[in-house]
């Protein structure tokens, strides 16, 4: 079973489960006070939340409609009829035709109703409201914030087995919200949207019921309901003037005006004229305010606090609705609009806005004040802008939050404040998915925090950047940044460090760096233990268990912690953690081939998901569970489980998961040799992926389709599929292995089918990409018999590209690949290889990367460079490396390396010893690349000339046999020794094992460190001589050089510490103590 094949996109089959984030470290938790000090934002407690979300907007709706005598529209029946079949419906009509009334009627007919008016609400507010409504019913903890994606996911999960009618009003204000709600799968729930705009529903094919004005009989019924009986003449006149508009008729019943004004707008005007000054002001105040004002506020504004007077005014006014909690609101949006327009025409809009805004500001109701004052009196933002910013952000109004931040940025600020504002903008832009702008902003913010010396915010900003990088595939950069964050982070601020570490561990997991992740988890656990933070401890233990099971030698420990977690009995509170433990155990037992145990925990995990209705996680766990059955060869059982996962994925409308499940199922059928079914399933997989632009899924699907088609003998279409897959992998970035594989497969098929044009095009693409971040490597095709591409020609093109590159990277691995090809085809490769080495040599331009590459190629060349070739090489080196003088004496070649600081190093090698010559060249060229190999800053030079010999071990032993011979030990990494030979005139010599070239062969032993060892020991010996110091001391001073050299070879952990075994043992007693408390 090739389960490995599936471990492609990281977390999909990451049986390690999802990490629990112990508090995301975001700047939303902190805010700057007006004096620039950083404050902790006080989060609302459960009681506050319960009050806040206990508000039932249906009550508001009922209050609003209570004074009215409504008639049931004839359309209502049609709406109800549609709702018996469809779960979703849009009600569309002009202002005042009675959309809200219809929602009210529906609310009376339905059982569980949630009514939401979208006016001035963000998607987050809406989601919070809905989710907390569910939470109140379920009697669980309420939440005070959520991000959009999680919120939608959660909402989708909740919809699965609820039966609620959602009435969503005034959608015309919030097309964005509607766009996100429409695609949710509604299951047994009913959604009714009311909007003035039909276009809101164009994208999704939901039934739309247009609501028009009253027809004559409805109008009459309405008037009858209000006990208004009119003469035929009057009624005709009224119907003509009103056009049957319900709002107009309602006005008519409430504000008797003659002659009849023409249309609703004129009616507004007529009513307006009737109002006295305080009535007008009351209406203006509630129209201009962004959120409903309270009676108390109106009383303070209009009657210096006389509440009774205000209440009377509101009662007689009949133009504002009293909502719950003493709030009032202009009773119809159309009238509100009119009032604003009218105030503007009167030239009083700014006056009132300013008065109202400043009133709110003085009353410290900044949330209301900001909307009124931001354009009008931006200077007032100085007083409260900083204070209100996090609140606006938390309410999900990102664009407005941005506006505030930009307004505050207009004034010159100190770096910390400017950084903070830019960081806020960055967060908004991320939510608004303006990734490019966000990246620029965070960069600015990081620099500003650094300048300000604000360590904490600097770290927060860097962490955010690192997460972005990892998410967008800039994995290498992300990793570097994370490493540097970890270095900067001492335990100066333990409160913050814990969550920071948890975030870090998530990044490491994304990067598949489980060792580092485990390290960080352990650190986090110890920190949380100090703070007695039980949740922190338990979650870091779960995370540790999860990461430890990914690398050898620690699975027992991982299993121990996972079992411990289950035993702690805390899982009722932290069921997410139990899931992690179960995941880890499933994975561990699977790796141990204990499938029965694995099945047991896998099944438990699935049940747990179902119990807590975590359907999305259930899908993941079902897939994991199915994988075990696949391992054991029970494919039918596995298929059943995948089917169930698929069912949930379809239920919840998660296309990404559908795509994954289909491709797994396709693989199973392909294994069963049922190519037809495999092809059908993979097409489905691609289809699902395309629906949500899931690039990885599309690419993977295309690749699989390619392989099925290839198996069916349809080579040309298969090749096209591979190539498409390749293109997508390249676009995703960071998928080098996958993209190269697809490309190779495509090329092989093009060769098979003789598609020369396509082939040449691909070679060109490959050459062009050399030196960039994503090199499209074609060397893989050399291994295939069908290959018709001239590899030498191809590689010499790459070499030209490398030489032309003004800032070449370290490209040792690519050259080694070529070296392998040359060694495999020795005779035909000698000349082309030599040409490449000579070209590199002639064009090194003192670039360290080119020089070290040249050095390694010479050292690794083996039989490719023999006496004849070496002759040419030496001539070229004399031309192009001025600091290296080479001459021949009797039987020996003398290399003299001249250093501007005054070291002169002479190395003598036997003429008949090509290996010695090559190593000597390699050493001296490497030294021009990295002079620090033996030149040390800050030490005084004591000697100016040093002469050493390079000897082959056997040869030397023969010479020495008369004196008893030498006895030197060599091992895998140790193939050379520096020896002192006291009797000789020049006592230092390097003895090289005859087997050096075989043992040091990086193609055969990719991890060998023979050359590094030679460079280091000889380097230290030489500098010890020049500076007249003890070798041990020199080695200590130049320690960091090792890592630098190793990097060139592509090793990362040459440091001794890296080899040390980590201690991941946790002090479990602490957790028990805490629980006991």
């Amino acid at each position: 079973m090739k389960i490995d094949k599936q471990e492609t996109s990281g977390s999909i089959f990451n049986i390690g489960g999802n990490f629990v984030n112990q508090g995301i470290l975001n700047a939303e938790n902190v805010y700057l006070n007006n004096d620039g000090t950083v404050q902790e934002l006080v989060r609302p407690n459960q009681e506050t939340l319960r009050i806040q979300f206990g508000i039932n907007y249906v009550d508001d709706l009922a209050n609003e409609q209570s004074g009215k005598r409504l008639i049931e529209r004839e359309d209502l029946n049609q709406v109800c009829q549609i709702l018996t079949e469809n779960k979703e419906i849009g009600i569309v009509g002009n202002p005042g035709v009675g959309k809200t009334c219809m929602l009210f009627h529906l609310s009376c007919k339905m059982k569980d109703v949630i009514y939401i008016n979208l006016k001035n609400k963000s998607l987050q507010t809406v989601l919070l409201h809905i989710i907390n409504k569910y939470n109140i019913i379920a009697g669980v903890q309420l939440i005070d914030k959520i991000d959009i994606e999680n919120g939608l996911e959660l909402f989708q999960g909740l919809l699965v087995d609820s039966k609620i009618t959602f009435l969503i009003d005034e959608c015309e204000n919030s097309s964005e919200i509607i766009k996100r709600l429409l695609p949710l799968k509604k299951h047994q729930n009913i959604f009714v949207y009311a909007s003035q705009l039909r276009t809101d529903f164009d994208a999704e094919s939901i039934e739309v019921v247009p609501i028009g004005n009253f027809n004559e009989s409805e109008a009459k019924r309405f008037l009858q309901e209000y006990d208004i009986s009119l003469d035929v003449l009057d009624i005709n006149e009224l119907l003509e003037a009103s056009q049957g508009n319900a709002l107009y008729l309602y006005y008519y019943s409430q504000y008797s005006i003659s002659p009849f004004p023409k249309g609703v707008d004129q009616y507004h005007r007529a009513i307006w004229k009737q109002l006295d000054v305080s009535q007008k002001e009351c209406v203006i105040v509630s129209s201009l305010a962004h959120f409903p004002v309270t009676t108390v506020e109106v009383s303070q504004l209009l009657f210096s606090g006389e509440l009774q007077k205000t209440i009377e005014l509101i009662d007689t006014l009949r133009l504002v609705n009293r909502l719950t909690e003493g709030k009032i609101e202009v009773f119809h949006p159309a009238f509100r609009k009119f009032v604003v327009e009218q105030t503007k025409t009167d030239g009083l809009l700014d006056v009132y806005k300013s008065r109202l805004g400043n009133y709110f500001k003085d009353a410290r109701n900044f949330r209301q004040a900001i909307y009124l004052l931001i354009d009008l009196e931006p200077e007032t933002l100085e007083d409260f802008g900083f204070e209100i910013l996090p609140e606006i952000y938390n309410s999900g109004e990102f664009e407005f939050s941005n506006k505030i931040a930009y307004a505050l940025l207009k004034k010159p600020r100190d770096p910390a404040t400017e950084g903070y504002l830019k960081f806020c903008i960055y967060q908004n832009q991320r939510f608004l998915q303006l990734d490019k702008d966000a990246a620029l902003m965070i960069e600015d913010a990081i620099q500003l925090f650094a300048r300000a010396g604000n360590r904490r915010l600097h770290l927060v900003a860097q962490m955010n950047k690192a997460m972005d990088l990892v998410e967008s595939g800039g994995i290498a950069h992300g990793r570097e940044l994370v490493d540097s964050i970890l270095e900067q982070d001492d335990e100066a601020d333990p409160e913050q460090t814990g969550p920071l570490l948890v975030s870090l561990s998530k990044i490491y997991i994304d990067l598949h760096q489980y060792k580092q992740a485990a390290d960080v988890c352990k650190k986090a656990y110890d920190l949380f233990a100090k703070q007695k933070n039980l949740y922190g401890m338990v979650s870091s233990m779960a995370n540790l268990a999860s990461s430890l099971n990914h690398f050898d030698g620690y699975r027992d420990l991982s299993r121990k912690y996972a079992h411990k977690l289950l035993d702690l009995g805390l899982t009722d509170y932290y069921f997410g953690l139990e899931l992690i433990a179960l995941n880890a155990l499933t994975s561990i037992y699977r790796q141990m081939n204990k499938y029965e145990e694995a099945k047991k925990y896998g099944a438990l995990a699935v049940r747990q998901c179902q119990k807590y209705k975590l359907f999305k996680k259930a899908i993941l766990n079902l897939i994991n569970y199915g994988n075990i059955f696949r391992d054991t060869g029970e494919t039918d059982e596995a298929l059943k489980i995948y089917q169930e996962a698929l069912f949930h994925a379809v239920e919840m409308n998660i296309h990404k998961e559908q795509c994954r499940i289909h491709w797994i199922m396709s693989e199973i059928f392909v294994e069963k040799n049922d190519l037809e079914e495999g092809l059908r399933l993979i097409d489905l997989s691609i289809g699902s992926a395309k629906l949500v632009n899931y690039s990885y899924g599309i690419a993977h699907g295309l690749k699989e389709r390619g392989s099925i088609l290839e198996a069916r003998g349809e080579f040309k279409t298969a090749a096209i599929n591979y190539e498409e897959a390749f293109n997508i992998f390249v676009q995703i970035g960071g998928m080098i292995k996958e993209s190269n594989r697809c490309l190779t497969l495509a090329i092989l098929l093009y060769m098979k089918t003789g598609e020369k044009n396509r082939l040449e095009r691909l070679v060109k693409i490959s050459v062009a990409s050399f030196g960039g971040e994503n090199f499209i490597d074609l060397m893989g095709i050399a291994d295939y018999e069908e290959n018709i591409v001239d590899i030498h020609d191809y590689f010499s093109q790459l070499n030209v590209k490398y030489i032309e590159n003004p800032a070449p990277n370290n490209q040792v691995p690519e050259y080694l690949d070529y070296l392998r090809y040359c060694k495999d085809n020795l005779e035909s490769s000698k000349l082309p290889f030599k040409k490449i080495v000579l070209a590199l040599c002639a064009n090194h331009c003192n670039n360290p990367n080119r020089l070290s590459l040249l050095s390694i190629l010479i050292e690794q060349s083996g039989k490719l460079l023999e006496a004849g070739e070496l002759q040419d090489l030496i001539s070229e080196i004399q031309n192009s490396i001025k600091s290296l003088k080479i001459r021949k004496t009797v039987g020996e070649i003398v290399f003299l390396s001249i250093d501007p600081k005054g070291f002169n190093l002479e190395i003598n090698v036997h003429q008949e010893d090509p290996m010695g010559i090559k190593l000597c060249l390699a050493f001296l060229i490497f030294r021009t690349a990295i002079p620090e190999i033996f030149s040390i800053e800050g030490l005084d030079i004591k000697q100016k000339y040093f002469k050493i010999y390079f000897h082959e071990y056997d040869l030397l032993n023969e010479v020495m046999s008369a004196k008893g011979g030498l006895s030197l030990d060599f091992n895998d990494d140790l193939q050379s020794h520096v020896i002192k030979w006291q009797q000789a005139e020049f006592p230092t010599a390097v003895v090289i094992n005859n087997d050096y070239e075989a043992k040091a062969d990086l193609l055969r032993f990719p991890g060998n460190k023979c050359f590094i060892y030679l460079l280091r020991t000889l380097g230290c010996e030489v500098s010890g001589y020049f500076y007249n110091k003890d070798i041990g001391e020199i080695y200590e001073i130049t320690r960091s050089i090792t890592a630098r050299i190793a990097l060139i070879f592509g090793y990362t952990n040459v440091d001794d510490d890296a080899e040390r075994k980590f201690d991941y043992n946790l002090d479990l007693s602490k957790i028990e103590e805490l629980i006991a408390e």
């Binding site: 209000y226 208004i228 019943s253 005006i257 009737q274 009774q308 007689t316 009949r318």
Partner: protein, 135 residues
């Protein structure tokens, strides 16, 4: 008939209690509706009853509770809860005796003003109140 009356008076919105002066020697209660139609309908119904009435007003919360019955047999005709001006009520309460006779009129706030509405403006008379109780 009487049910219709009550239904209409449910829609009444405001009470006017003008002070006594040269033009008003007896207490008069003005009952305002939002729509000019209602007074006309009331006129039709009350005309058929065509009797004197008993009327009492008393504050109920921040509204004024109005009760109207037939003077002949005390049969309740309708009651209503109306917005009112407290000063007007206080003035009246302090200036009239209990069970004084008076009148009431029914009108509408039309084009922003309180207007008495009648189908036959020429023969219009206020409704006579035998005992006007201010409690």
């Amino acid at each position: 008939m009487i049910e219709d009356l009550q239904k209409i008076f449910d829609l009444a919105i405001r009470a006017y209690l003008p002070p006594l002066d040269e033009t008003n020697s007896v207490p008069v209660l003005g009952i305002a509706f939002a729509n000019a139609n209602y007074p006309k309908q009331i006129e039709k119904i009350l005309a058929s009853i065509s009797e004197k009435f008993n009327l009492s007003i008393s504050p109920a919360g921040k509204l004024l509770n109005l009760k109207v019955s037939k003077a002949s047999n005390g049969e309740n005709l309708f009651d209503a809860l109306l917005n009112y001006e407290e000063r007007e009520y206080e003035w009246l309460k302090n200036h009239i005796k209990k069970s004084i006779s008076g009148a009431f009129v029914v009108g509408a706030i039309h084009n922003g003003k309180f207007m008495i509405v009648s189908d036959n403006p020429l023969s219009f008379n206020p409704y006579q109140v035998e005992s006007f109780n201010v409690g």
